[in-house]
């Protein structure tokens, strides 16, 4: 049967239009955000490349040469300080010996070994009493750590001959 009564075109509900536009806006926003991210990423890549380039340029050959020179000088200063700290002065021994050797004792051989702080002396004196006095003087010295008397003998003229090994206090060479 023919429908003679015309029908009204069905109108979409207002909330449908609102939802449509909101959805459209969300889509546009998503597309815009994606486009923005693409742009930001390309900018970030360029920035990164620029920074890498700048990092490569820092430390030119001249600056690296300067760096080597500074480190070499630093090493020399430190080495110098170490050597100077270890520097020893054997000349200090002579006035010390002159002050402790008995006037009636004559030394004939002298051998100083700095590595061992050891002094080997050969000498002679008038008699055992003088030698005893000499040993007493040596024993009383703070700069002598150990005394080794050896090869004690009586010489042709009746004098006493001997060898003395002295282990010295390293402070004497400072």
């Amino acid at each position: 049967m023919v429908d003679l009564i015309p029908k009204r075109a069905r109108k979409s509900l207002p909330f449908q239009s609102v939802f449509f536009y909101i959805a459209l806006a969300i889509l546009i926003l998503a597309a815009g955000a994606y486009a923005l991210l693409i742009y930001l990423e390309s900018q970030a890549s360029i920035n990164l490349q620029n920074l890498e380039g700048e990092i490569t340029r820092v430390g030119t050959p001249a600056e690296k040469q300067m760096e080597r020179s500074v480190f070499s000088t630093e090493r020399k200063i430190n080495d110098f300080a170490t050597i100077i700290e270890a520097h020893r002065r054997p000349s200090q021994l002579f006035p010390f010996l002159e002050s402790v050797i008995h006037p009636q004792v004559w030394m004939s051989d002298f051998e100083l070994t700095m590595e061992a702080d050891f002094l080997k002396l050969s000498g002679q004196t008038l008699n055992f009493r003088t030698l005893g006095e000499q040993l007493e003087v040596l024993r009383s010295q703070r700069m002598i750590r150990e005394i080794q008397l050896s090869d004690l003998s009586i010489g042709e003229g009746g004098q006493t001959e001997f060898n003395i090994g002295l282990t010295l206090n390293p402070e004497i060479f400072k």
């Binding site: 459209l24 020399k76 050597i83």
Partner: protein, 184 residues
Amino acid sequence: MSKIYLAIAFIVAALLVGGVLAWPKYQSLSTLNEGIKAKELELQSKTDYFNHIRKVSEQLEEYQESLSKINSALPDDALLPSTFNYLQNAASQAGLILEEVAVGSAGVFDQTQASAAKPAEGQIKTITLNLSLVGSYASLKSFISEIENSARIIEVRKIAFSSPEEDEEEDIFSFSIDVVTHNY
């Protein structure tokens, strides 16, 4: 198509754009930004480092005199001829005759003593010189004091001498002295 279906299609498309395209891009951008921060720090630290080196270098320029003394004390090579010359002059000034200089062992400086190990790059090398001298005891003392205070660091390692024989001139001794010089 009704608007409601289109709206749903937009939402789905937006979710796809966001989830499949934008989110990975965002993560990639975050990684890049972290990389940029790290590179900025690296650049800053490198720049600061070389600025510091430049300042130190400028400060060292002010101590050229002291540095040249250190260079003399610790030269880059053994400089044996100039060392021999110095020893000969020092002996002569002290009143000794330098009869012989023999080059002894080479080694490496360590704080305790020089060892005979083979020197590595940058290590301080040592050369032992054996000196034979003739003169008086007073001259020996003067010579030892002189070399102790020389610009070139010279370490005395051994001193040996004997009293002159009866037929020899009195007060004239023969000395044997081992000294060590340092260089790079």
